[in-house]
């Protein structure tokens, strides 16, 4: 075994084995570094900082889109063939491709669609489809329960992970019990225009999750702090929903396109499973594709994702990268999984999940975490549990969590 005892941050970042283990970890490499940490055979503070730096570097690396590369190859192949058949040598001519303007136009149209959500045409008194969701959100935040608002009814659902189902006619049942109270009156009311869409909004507060089955059979797992606006029954040629927050969607293919509008992004789905996170309060959004195909239109352009690719948007910058989808979808099982993750990264993710401000110390924690956390409890109890294992304490003032490391002797 190599002696890492006195390695500095720079030395770790210059070490072949270390780089490989962080960028392309295997079970064996995880075990190796675990054992070195357990034996105290390295300086944990240097190690932690090196891991943080290298992971941050890797996360920010721009990755090519598989579809774009494929298109590019087809152009190259075509060009080589035409050069060959004309049996002449091209003299270093530049090939400017001119597909950009068309894409830009499409993106602009998509962005427009996002900011102009299509509610019912004539909004009547009592309609729930009002523009900003935060007033409604506050209602749910205060009660701490999942709330479904439809045009004529409001339903508060107790329990931490309710299961909500709409059938083809737009009738709803919760946890396998038809609730008379919320049978959508409009879908039974013949006097109303059949084309009129009844919009509903589900509000899931922080610390709760919900499962929603839409009338077409597509399912959504809805994460904490999320609002989803959807029709009781999809009518017309497209299926559209609006999301503020995070959902894991399993979309049923039925010939009609399925669109998700989310905080400046539009995701066009063709029967697929993906995770989407776009909190209005957050400047970081992502779409992670698990299976199938989606197109994501955002302010900057339009990209197609291949499975295991993620579309990331951070402070207005967008990029696509390969990810381990597990880490993005584990919340649907109510857990947050992490591997070889410095505790500061874990805390940042938790603060994001619970939407609180966080202040971290300047120096590295020297604590590397493996495992998973259950996200059922409130943040304070999770941190209280974590602080003993991960050697920190925290104070809360005006909703801001301030972390201090507790140095082990």
């Amino acid at each position: 075994m190599k002696n890492y005892k006195d390695y500095t941050v720079e030395q770790f970042l210059n070490d072949e084995t270390f780089i490989r283990s962080v960028l392309a970890p295997t079970e064996e490499s995880q075990r190796y570094w675990n054992s070195l940490i357990d034996e105290g055979a390295l300086d944990i503070y240097s190690y932690t900082e090196a891991v943080l730096l290298l992971k941050g570097w890797k996360d920010d690396l721009p990755k090519a889109n598989g579809g774009d590369l494929q298109d590019l190859w087809l152009r190259i192949e075509e060009e080589i063939r035409s050069e060959g058949s004309a049996s002449r040598k091209a003299k270093g001519r530049t090939l400017r491709r001119i597909f950009i303007p068309a894409v830009a136009v499409a993106a602009a149209a998509a962005a427009l669609a996002v900011f102009l959500p299509r509610g019912p045409k004539d909004t009547q008194e009592g309609d729930v489809y009002v523009e900003p969701g935060f007033v409604l959100k506050t209602v749910a935040q205060e009660s701490g329960n999942v709330v479904i608002l439809s045009e004529r009814s409001e339903m508060e659902i107790h329990g931490s992970n309710p299961d909500i189902n709409y059938d083809r006619q737009g009738l709803v049942n919760v946890n396998d019990e038809y609730s008379e109270k919320v049978i959508a009156p409009d879908s039974l009311d013949k006097s109303r225009d059949a084309q009129q869409v009844e919009w509903n909004r589900i509000v899931v507060p922080y610390g709760k999750m919900a499962s929603l089955r839409l009338s077409d059979g597509s399912t959504l797992k809805i994460n904490a702090g999320t609002t989803v606006t959807y029709p009781s029954a999809f009518s017309g040629d497209t299926r559209e929903i609006h999301v503020d927050g995070e959902v894991f969607a399993d979309v049923v293919h039925d010939g009609r396109p399925f669109k998700v509008h989310a905080n400046g992004m539009e995701v066009l789905v063709k029967g697929t499973r993906f995770d989407l996170s776009a909190y209005g309060s957050d400047d970081f959004s992502h779409v992670v594709l698990v299976e199938g195909a989606v197109d994501v239109a955002s302010g900057g352009g339009n990209v197609s994702l291949a499975p295991r690719q993620a579309f990331m948007k951070s402070n207005g910058k967008t990029f696509v990268q390969m990810v381990s989808t597990d880490l993005y979808t584990s919340w649907t099982d109510g857990v947050y999984k992490f591997e070889n993750e410095p505790v500061e990264n874990v805390l940042v993710k938790l603060s994001r999940f619970y939407n609180v401000s966080l202040v971290l110390p300047k120096d590295p924690s020297g604590v590397i975490c493996y495992g998973s956390l259950e996200l059922k409890d409130d943040l304070k109890s999770i941190l209280s549990g974590l602080m003993q294992i991960a050697s920190f304490n925290f104070t809360i003032k005006d909703g801001t969590y301030t972390i201090r490391w507790v140095r082990r002797q």
Partner: protein, 177 residues
């Protein structure tokens, strides 16, 4: 013809993604990077023999791609301002002496860990990419960039120091997430 295409396709599958990521370190414009990638492979099709005889195939490809991208970048003056004092030079111009510790790049106030990466100069990003992603040794980096191994090591050291400094600044900022 078909043989050439089959061989090229194999090389393309292995390298296109890597070259794309690399190119984005030198010039953060997807269109230009894709154009350079396209030209690199067209060139490869024309000079398939030279390539097949190259000892260091990765080095050949990267160098060919780098040359094309930097030439295109130079033809588009709108990119020259990105580099600032730590600009990248076309290899044959032979400017080995660089001023790495020049003016600090404009400090961007962004609170994300990932953002720190964008504050490095293209030169720094390049050496980090070669070392981390391509796992090149300092000898290989030196040969590739036509500099002394010691200079390659120093360059990497300065890029790391910058990375750390930015990181420490980031973490003292308040996360509102």
């Amino acid at each position: 013809m078909e043989d050439v295409i089959t061989v090229l396709n194999g090389i393309y599958s292995e390298y296109a993604g890597r070259l794309f990521s690399y190119g984005m370190q030198l010039c953060p414009d997807k269109r230009l990077v894709e154009d350079a990638l396209q030209e690199t492979f067209l060139d490869l099709g024309r000079h398939a023999r030279a390539f097949s005889q190259a000892r260091d195939k990765r080095g050949y490809l990267f160098a060919s791609f780098r040359y094309k991208l930097l030439r295109m970048k130079k033809e588009h003056p709108e990119y020259s301002s990105i580099d600032g004092p730590d600009g990248l030079d076309l290899p044959q111009e032979g400017t080995i002496e660089e001023t790495f510790i020049g003016e600090e790049q404009r400090r961007l106030h962004e609170s994300r860990l990932q953002e720190m990466y964008s504050e490095l100069t293209p030169r720094h990003r390049e050496v980090l990419f070669l070392r981390f992603s391509e796992r090149m040794s300092f000898k290989e980096i030196a040969d590739y960039l036509s500099i002394e191994p010691q200079s390659a090591q120093n360059l990497f050291g300065r890029a790391l120091a910058r990375l750390r400094k930015i990181y420490l600044e980031e973490t003292t900022e308040k996360y509102h997430l």
